[in-house]
């Protein structure tokens, strides 16, 4: 029986198991009175005597007090715990009390008030990705008692880094959008200021959007300046000169209309006042580009950023691309010295500074819902934390199917989700070279390397295993903006291609490593066509696959942008708020992926909670 393989579980589990003729549940409930009468002292001494005899009396008593505290909410409130789960939870609980009493107390318990047993908070945030961190920091700063649970050992989710040899590798951040400068602040700046991280960060403004290298030798570099972009495009595509001018005028006006509709929330919009939005808001990027341009090469050069959104122009909503492209031009892409991990650490620091409680290496196993209302969270060590509000940064699928369970959700929740498909993940080659970027000939921070076919073929390739001639790639050379990732004279870079997880699921486990190397090899070969000789200077390399992302984020398909974002998947058609009282989503699966949207989503979720709390 389970008690034997888990020695720390002996005492209480034995009591539960030792009450004959009762179901687990009633055994559990009848257990509580003896606990209160002190009979349990006898029971524990009897069943676990040898181990317990070695304990000092003071330790034993201390342990008992903790045990009682731990049990009392069930006794008083009978929080509905799945019956099957109880003995497990009990077992884990006792583990904290027995001979290893101290183990359990390490940052594990912070009772909010003494009669209530285990921890109680106003809000629990599940997951410390971008959305979880900004949500948690916003709440803590507003004076709300908040617990942040993160399954990994560091904060950040995607927004993290890791070290190999002499190199620290940035995992996800390529170009931060929407921040702007003090003189020309973007929307994200207020978020950073509000959460007191702006002063903590050293931001580097990039003057360049990207260099794109096309299949047909086409090569073009765009700077982060509206007029310069127009001039460069007109120089390269003289036959589209007027169209380019017209398009950028349209783009600026469209941008203003979208701001009026969605940010300033015009209460009575009409086609007359928002003609471009009424006509193009629900169109794909390609549909709108086709209204202006004939040259497909131009369209392609313009939309090289599609990989940042996960769908090619023929599927990507025009509004998503337009807002991102203009935000990059208007506020310029930025980099954070020390990478996105620096941002995550700064956000976590603000959270702690305002009294937030964070637990790393501690995932949420279940969100307790009763009568359509959130009651708390059971963590993966079996501990229950009470709270009337939970913000989940875990995927929507995980939140609904694993953490809450179909039985506690209206059918509509799953019915709505049916319409969405799990988004792309990626294969990334994190590469450390023993030469400087100049010596390697890497001239730009961001280079998009186009596939030999169309963008649609590039997208097709994301559903096939490995890197092909049709695959589109991006090479980000971090050392060009931030020398701090590795010693002088070396280069840190990431080569990335989008890829869905499905083909990776079909690889037999023993072939998995070989498939990763095969993909990386082909990706490097493609990069070498643009920057020859890279391979000869490789010093460190790590490869991440969709399975890697699945492992580190806990998201289905390792999808770091959440669901595919077609027009139909936008917030206009999908309700961001789950149909459970007290439950909110933050992060890529709440709305859409990428740094700016996810950082923003956490603040928004937190504000909704604050409103509920009357703050």
């Amino acid at each position: 029986m389970a008690a034997r393989t888990a020695p720390e579980a002996v005492p209480l589990f034995a009591i539960v198991a030792g009450l004959p003729g009762k179901t687990e549940k009633s055994a559990f409930l009848t257990l509580v009175p003896p606990v209160l009468t002190g009979e349990v002292v006898w029971c524990i001494l009897f069943t676990g005597c040898i181990r317990l005899m070695r304990m000092r009396l003071a330790e034993l008593l201390e342990g008992l007090v903790e045990l009682l505290e731990w049990l009392s909410p069930w006794a008083e409130r009978r929080v509905p715990c799945s019956v099957r789960r109880l003995p497990w939870a009990v077992r884990r609980g006792v583990g904290r009390v027995g001979p290893v009493g101290r183990v359990g107390r390490v940052g594990r318990m912070k009772p909010m008030d003494k009669e209530r047993v285990m921890s109680r908070y106003d809000v629990i945030v599940v997951g410390a990705g971008n959305g979880g961190l900004t949500a948690a920091a916003t709440l803590a700063k507003a004076g709300v008692a908040t617990l942040l649970l993160e399954r990994h050992s560091v904060p950040g989710g995607c927004a993290t880094s890791f070290c190999r040899g002499r190199f620290e590798f940035e995992v996800a951040l390529h170009q931060l959008s929407g921040l702007g400068t003090a003189e020309n602040p973007g929307p994200l700046r207020a978020v950073f200021e509000g959460l007191e991280v702006l002063d903590q960060l050293d931001l580097i403004v990039m003057e360049e959007l990207y260099r794109t290298v096309g299949p047909d030798g086409m090569e073009l570099t765009l700077t982060a300046d509206r007029n310069a972009v127009i001039a460069e495009l007109q120089r390269r595509f003289p036959h589209e000169k007027e169209a380019i001018a017209a398009f950028f005028e349209f783009l600026a006006a469209f941008f203003m209309e979208v701001v009026g509709l969605f940010y300033l929330k015009d209460p009575a919009p009409s086609r007359d006042s928002y003609p471009r939005a009424f006509s193009c808001l629900l169109k794909t990027t390609q549909e709108v580009l086709d209204q202006f341009f004939k040259d497909p090469v131009l369209c392609r050069a313009l939309t090289a950023y599609w990989g940042y959104l996960g769908l090619p122009p023929r599927r990507m909503p025009f509004v998503d691309w337009a807002m991102m492209f203009l935000a990059y031009i208007e506020y310029k892409p930025q980099h954070i010295r020390g990478g996105s991990q620096m941002l995550s650490a700064a956000l976590a620091d603000t959270f702690l500074k305002y009294g937030g409680v964070v637990r790393y290496n501690c995932g949420a196993a279940r969100i307790v819902v009763r009568d359509g209302q959130v009651e708390g969270v059971v963590d993966d060590q079996g501990e229950l934390h009470l709270a009337k509000h939970v913000i989940s940064n875990a995927s929507r699928i995980t939140t609904y199917a694993d953490l809450i369970g179909r039985e506690h959700l209206p059918d509509a929740a799953f019915a709505e989700m049916r319409g969405s498909s799990i988004g792309a993940s990626a294969v990334t080659v994190y590469a450390g070279f023993d030469q400087s970027p100049d010596a390697l000939g890497i001239t730009h921070t961001t280079t998009f390397i186009g596939g030999c076919g169309s963008q649609d073929e590039e997208y097709e390739a994301t559903r096939r295993l490995g890197c092909h001639d049709t695959t589109g790639l991006a090479l980000t050379c971090y050392t060009r903006m931030d020398g701090g990732f590795s010693p002088p004279g070396t280069t840190q870079a990431a080569l990335i291609m989008l890829q869905y997880a499905d083909p990776w699921f079909k690889v037999p486990p023993e072939q998995y490593a070989a498939e990763k190397y095969k993909a990386a090899d082909a990706m490097l070969a493609r990069a070498e066509a643009v920057y020859p000789g890279l391979r000869d200077h490789l010093e460190e390399m790590e490869i991440s696959s969709p399975i890697t992302h699945l492992r580190y984020l806990g998201h289905p398909g390792g999808a770091f942008y959440g669901f595919d974002q077609h027009v139909k998947d936008s917030a206009s058609f999908v309700s961001p708020k789950p149909p459970v009282d007290g439950l909110y989503l933050a992060g890529a699966w709440a709305t859409s992926g990428g740094f700016q949207p996810t950082l923003d989503s956490g603040v928004r979720a937190a504000r909704q909670v604050l409103k509920q709390l009357g703050k």
Binding site: P99, V100, R102, V103, R105, V106, G107, S153, V154, S161, F162, C163, R164, R166, E168, L261, R271, A277, F278, S279, C280, L281, L282, K283, Q341, M342, A345, A346, A348, Y360, I397, Y400, A401, D402, G405, R406, F414, A415, R418, G419, S420, S421, D434, F485, F505, P509, E510, Y517, A520, L524, L538, M541, E542, I547, L550, R551, G554, K568, S572, F573
Partner: protein, 388 residues
């Protein structure tokens, strides 16, 4: 935006139709319950309960434990990776990494080859107390000391010391069993002839396969059995030059005690081997940390300090041992894996006090900045307060 307004946008009806179709033919995500966890468990289980299927005596001080998983397939690993065993001795929960010495193509079991460390807690336990049939807890295979075909090439030189042969054994077995196109030279240092682990198998393989050369290096005189030509002394630059011949385009791998790394790296660099061609496995805390550069002279290894974990009574810690060891001895459960400062699983926040961190620790810039340390690679220099 309100639906009645949205309805007036061009293309609204098409989107609604699309939504209807997508929901009709879409995925029922309720069926995803447990799926992500199952995938993670398949490749990188957080916990693996293994059973000792067999014990092979290798030398007087070394045994191979053959580990099987009774109730699940073993997760895949790459030759060179290790298992982080999780153990418990009374109050103390600790762990130790052990490289897998069997071939990854062998999907039925993992071998770990454990050599006795004088006064060693875990090696002593594994050599003296465990029996066939006993259970051992571990995490899934981990580690980055593996052959990367993208740039390592296939001319490989393995430099092993003592039990550091274990990961190489896995690589050699895989290469030769599967006929991989790799050329391997193994330089294997030991103190005495009886210490050489896997000697019989290595001689057998070296006589049979042209792409594998085996050069034992012994500090002390003694006869190898079976007899095999051996070098005396240490793995010096002269020996390297002579045994390897053309040094260009070779990838050098080192695994063994810290002293071997320090010595052989210097020798290789003196021969002009660039750092990118030298790969080195983590091998745990060095024996005498106070001899490392930057250690403050005023502090001796046996100095004792108090470590307070927020909210608990202080525990004692010696300057010469890692903070992780002190925390474990004090009854705290701290997750760990590499125990060499590389994986960051043992990360804790240093609230106050100073620690010594060896130059080998791989700390993220953000952790450095916000006061986090890897407790397995941090040595107390004062009384400390930490948050676990």
């Amino acid at each position: 935006m309100k639906q009645e307004i949205l309805q007036q946008f061009d293309g609204y009806q098409d989107v609604m139709k699309e939504i209807e179709a997508a929901r009709k033919f879409g995925t029922d995500y309720a069926g995803f319950k447990g799926r992500v966890a199952a995938w993670i468990d398949r490749y990188h289980p957080a916990r693996l309960t293994l059973r000792i299927g067999d014990i092979l005596e290798e030398t007087a001080s070394t045994r191979t434990l053959r580990l099987v998983a009774p109730d699940r397939p073993l997760p895949p690993f790459q030759a060179g990776q290790y298992l982080a065993l999780a153990l418990r001795f009374g109050q103390v929960r600790t762990g130790r990494p052990y490289s897998i010495s069997s071939s990854p193509r062998n999907t039925g079991y993992y071998d770990i080859t454990v050599r006795r460390v004088p006064d060693g807690l875990v090696s002593g336990h594994l050599l003296d107390h465990v029996r066939v049939g006993d259970a051992l807890e571990s995490a899934g295979p981990a580690g980055t000391f593996v052959h990367n075909p993208v740039f390592h090439g296939n001319a490989l030189v393995y430099i092993a010391g003592g039990s550091g042969i274990a990961p190489f054994m896995s690589m050699i077995r895989e290469t030769l069993d599967c006929g991989l196109d790799r050329d391997i030279l193994l330089l294997y240092g030991n103190r005495a002839a009886d210490d050489v682990i896997f000697h019989a198998e290595l001689t057998r393989l070296a006589s049979r396969f042209e792409n594998f050369r085996y050069v034992p290096v012994l500090e002390e005189r003694g006869a190898l059995n079976p007899p095999w030509p051996c070098q005396k002394g240490y793995i010096t630059r002269d020996l390297l030059r002579e045994a390897v011949g053309d040094l260009t385009c070779r990838m050098f791998y080192m695994c063994g005690p810290a002293a071997l790394y320090d010595f052989c790296r210097r020798e290789l660099e003196a021969l002009g081997v660039p750092p990118r061609r030298i790969r080195q496995e983590a091998y745990g805390p060095p024996n005498h940390i106070s001899q490392y550069p930057g250690w403050p002279e005023a502090v001796t290894e046996d100095a004792t300090f108090r470590v307070t974990v927020k909210g608990s009574a202080p525990i004692p810690a010696h300057a010469g041992e890692t903070l992780l060891t002190a925390l474990e001895r004090g009854g705290f459960a701290v997750p760990s894996q590499c125990r060499s400062g590389e994986c960051s699983l043992c990360r804790v926040r240093l609230v106050s006090g100073a620690v010594y961190q060896p130059p080998t620790v791989l700390l993220r810039a953000a952790d450095r900045r916000f006061g986090y340390i890897h407790s397995c690679a941090a040595y107390p220099l004062e009384d400390l307060c930490v948050e676990v």
